[in-house]
Symmetry: C2
Subunit: 208 residues, 2 copies
Amino acid sequence: MRERSLRKSKAEAAETRRRIVETAAAEFKRNGIHATALADVMTAAGLTQGGFYRHFDSKDQLVREAVAEGMRPVVEFARDAAADRKGEPALKKIIRSYLSRDHRRNPASGCALSALGSELAREDAEARRVTTKAVRELVDIVAEQYAVAGEAGSREQAILAVSALVGAMTLSRVVAEPKLASEILRSTAERLMPPFETPPASEPAAIA
Amino acid sequence: MRERSLRKSKAEAAETRRRIVETAAAEFKRNGIHATALADVMTAAGLTQGGFYRHFDSKDQLVREAVAEGMRPVVEFARDAAADRKGEPALKKIIRSYLSRDHRRNPASGCALSALGSELAREDAEARRVTTKAVRELVDIVAEQYAVAGEAGSREQAILAVSALVGAMTLSRVVAEPKLASEILRSTAERLMPPFETPPASEPAAIA
DNA sequence: TGTACATCAGTGAACGCGCGTTCACTGATGTAC
DNA sequence: TGTACATCAGTGAACGCGCGTTCACTGATGTAC
């Protein structure tokens, strides 16, 4: 299928590198960073193990780039949703998508925070730095939607929401009973998507 | 320091076994399950590697028991808080403690869900079953406190709260900037601990 | 109650496999002239 | 534009270390009589 050996053009090499990072992001999210071997990534990318070091200095370097790549889907989804229709519709779209059964079933294409959260906490400064940037962006986007939707304390609420999204998806994947797993997703979504239609009666928005 | 060799009495052996499980729970929460070697656990428990298999069949078996042990602190803390004074005070105590800087700094003695969440999602059925049990207990305890505090939809709210606790702690550990890390803990706590004093004005409790 | 012996908790070393990393090699790319 | 050669993307195999597991051994425990 794949031509053996052969030096590739610079353009092809750049494309290969990109493919390795993408594949790594997916494999890490699917199986965990520690549990994924470089050979697994390279095979999944349609290459052999030896070629890895033409593109990266170490697994750590790949991890850093893959983590950044792994955060892209969610941030982009949120940005796109907000670009479409701001405020409540965007919030609903983001929350429904994040807490969907599809997302639960497919960590590889989902959010790196829920797929790798506890592992990321132990990564080196650089990996955590790129994650921090993504978290910030996500919070900012969500906060703006809550603000547009007329929510008081929109930044606080956005932080609660992002925390709850990540926590609920993580828990629903940990939990062994499908019914409880679904309930966690459903209940969290319900509480994060209040009926904004009803006018925000009292000024100091009652949270619960 | 430690006497060499010597067969220990049955009572001592049982105590040793308990110590291994406890140590493993702490080490796993500190460094991750995959990243912790059996030799690390045994050394931390003051033993040598070879003795491990007198007590366990495999690392997997230890993981299952250590995960159960690792969930105990939070569940017990929540139960004790609720036994002390039900409702709002219990909620405040649980939330403050869970989202404290102490907890953030000391995963080893904290909640296994925030320390190991994404790794637990990939563990075998038995490990996930014991985790599920603990999640259920935690949700039940928190739900009861919200109910006593007069919160409508207390179970839904409890699920949101537990998700947010786990997510916020995980995120605050991932985030590389101390200020943002603190803000995540503070904002989430703030939103989960509303001023219940103010009478729940409207019937369908506005969530945000 | 005392004695002889089997048991087994714990030690320390070894085994074997997996994984990150290195290396010799191939042959198309790309560049110097 | 064509030719000669250095470069380097990718291959496949090997290296070495770390980790889960096994094993021979020690000597106190616990039991059979």
